[in-house]
């Protein structure tokens, strides 16, 4: 089991256990973490699952790929260097303890 930390805009942090192989988006939905809307259910069509991976983890989580990169230009909160669409980030043991920030709004 791998843990993921979600930091809310008010600074509060929820730590949840994630199943390896699942996306961070699905992990959030399964644990009722607020602020991740995920309208398209992970089909890379909505950009409402935006998270910002904290600095220390950006290199490990890796960069967004083609369409994801384009869609990050359209998130409602301005993108940052650690921005990812959480449906495209798959949880694995190397991400154990990863912290992501949930933006103030998704659309």
């Amino acid at each position: 089991m791998t843990t993921v930390e979600f930091e809310q805009p008010d600074g509060s942090v929820t730590t949840v256990e994630a199943a390896d192989g699942e996306s961070i988006m699905r992990t959030a939905l399964s644990n009722l973490v607020p602020g991740i809307v995920a309208d398209c259910g992970g089909e890379l069509s909505c950009a409402t699952c935006h998270v910002i991976v904290s600095d220390a983890w950006v290199g490990i989580a890796g960069p967004p790929s083609g369409f994801e990169d384009e869609m990050l230009d359209a998130t409602s909160e301005e993108r940052e260097p650690g921005s990812r669409l959480s449906c495209q980030v798959v949880v694995s043991p190397v991400l154990d303890g990863v912290r992501v920030r949930v933006p103030a709004s998704q659309w």
Partner: protein
């Protein structure tokens, strides 16, 4: 706050409403009843990645099975509910009469079937609504399998693309003069038709006299039309959905091609709501709108949860929809029934990356995008706002969308 909430229909909207209630702090008893064997799952991948064989069944689940136990949701699966009593405030689940204080109907819709008598009996005829439907179809697809798809709407075309990618020989038979008739512009429909043609799908439109011809073994052997005969191994029917209104009608709720609801998704009975595909919203101008889309099922669920919790209701985002066919991403936003007076297209149609805007006076009422996800998302929030100075520049790619829509 221990009112008892019962949700009928464990699909997209039903799953979202229980999640939104618990996320919003609802701590009362919560029951979710559905007639399928599976907990709420995502349907959009059914005709896309799931049919391609890429994703296993559990990956479709909106939330893991353990979620319902953890959140103390009484999940009752494989049970059809046909009887609702809004006076006694009960629903009949099997032999049990379950009381409710608040009832949410999230019943979705039923696929329409061909009137053809052969359709009822044939074992090689498929509909594409449930996970079980698609598993069965998926097992039958092999390179060379001849698949006849009746219906050139999104579901039919997605199935055609996925089957083709798996090496099947696919023919699409559409009765209307063009594909995607009710749901998108001619520009996009033509692009989709040529995409399918280029990938080897035989697309026939304006087909009349369609009937199924059964062989000696009871299977459908061919589909006959005025445009010739198509030999088939499997037939898929994707000709739209009828909203599931049975329990509402039986309970005496107002129904008209959908369960009639107000802007808060309240039906004509006290403390009964209807959301998602089965709901028809009555708008202030007297018109009504029923939407079949996953984002709408979710947003109507979130709104009803807020109403039940007595919270401020979240704003309704503009309706939108997406489709994936082959590697192409198609996205649409705005009321699909809007009467567009002209279309303005931006981008490279031949190269397969463009947007088209449906304009009425000084507003964008529809946006349709082919492989332009970022500009689609950027323009979506501008639907229905007056933007006279921008409209004529939409097609000019020397302006970026961000420049055009920069707030003054």
């Amino acid at each position: 706050m221990s009112r008892r909430v019962v949700v009928l229909g464990a699909g997209h909207g039903g799953g979202e409403v229980v999640a939104a209630l618990r996320a919003g702090g609802f701590d009362g008893p919560l029951t979710l009843v559905g007639d399928e064997a599976t907990p709420p799952y995502q349907r959009p991948p059914l005709s896309k990645s799931f049919l391609l064989g890429a994703s296993p069944a559990d990956e479709l689940l909106a939330r893991p099975r353990s979620f319902y136990e953890q959140q103390q949701v009484d999940l009752v699966l494989g049970r059809r509910v046909d009887h609702v009593d809004t006076t006694a405030r009960t629903v009949q689940v099997g032999d049990e009469s379950v009381p409710y204080d608040v009832l949410v109907l999230a019943l979705g819709g039923r696929p329409r079937m061909l009137a053809d008598p052969a359709a009822a009996k044939a074992d090689n005829l498929h509909q594409v609504k449930t996970h079980a439907d698609v598993e069965r179809l998926r097992d039958r697809l092999a390179p060379g399998t001849r698949v006849g798809v009746v219906g050139g709407g999104f579901v039919g075309l997605e199935v055609a693309a996925s089957a083709r990618k798996r090496g099947a020989e696919v023919t699409v038979l559409e009765l209307a003069p063009r594909l995607l008739g009710r749901v998108c512009s001619e520009v996009v429909a033509e692009h989709v038709a040529s995409l399918h043609g280029a990938r080897g799908v035989d697309v026939r439109t304006g087909v009349t006299g369609l009937h199924l011809v059964t062989g000696d073994d009871g299977r459908i052997a061919r589909v006959a039309t005025d445009q010739g005969i198509v030999e088939v191994d499997e037939v898929v029917v994707g000709i739209g959905m009828t909203p599931e209104t049975g329990p509402a009608e039986q309970a005496g709720l107002a129904v008209d091609d959908g369960i009639l609801v107000d802007a808060d998704y309240r039906t004509s009975a006290p403390d009964v709501f209807a959301i998602g595909d089965c709901a028809r919203v009555l708008r202030p101008d007297g018109s009504t709108l029923r939407l079949e889309s996953a984002p709408h099922a979710a947003s109507s669920a979130r709104r009803v949860a807020a109403v039940i919790l007595g919270r401020e209701t979240p704003p309704d985002a503009a309706p939108w929809f997406w489709s994936h066919q082959f590697e192409v991403k198609i996205q649409m936003a705005g009321d699909p029934s809007a009467r567009v007076s002209r279309w303005v297209t931006r981008g490279d149609m031949a190269g397969g990356s463009f947007l088209t805007f449906g304009i009425v006076e000084d507003r964008i009422v529809r946006i349709e995008a082919v492989d332009r996800p970022a500009e689609f998302a950027q323009t979506k929030s501008w639907l229905d706002r007056p933007i006279p100075s921008v409209i004529d520049r939409l097609a000019d790619e020397s302006y970026s969308i961000r420049q055009l829509f920069a707030r003054p």
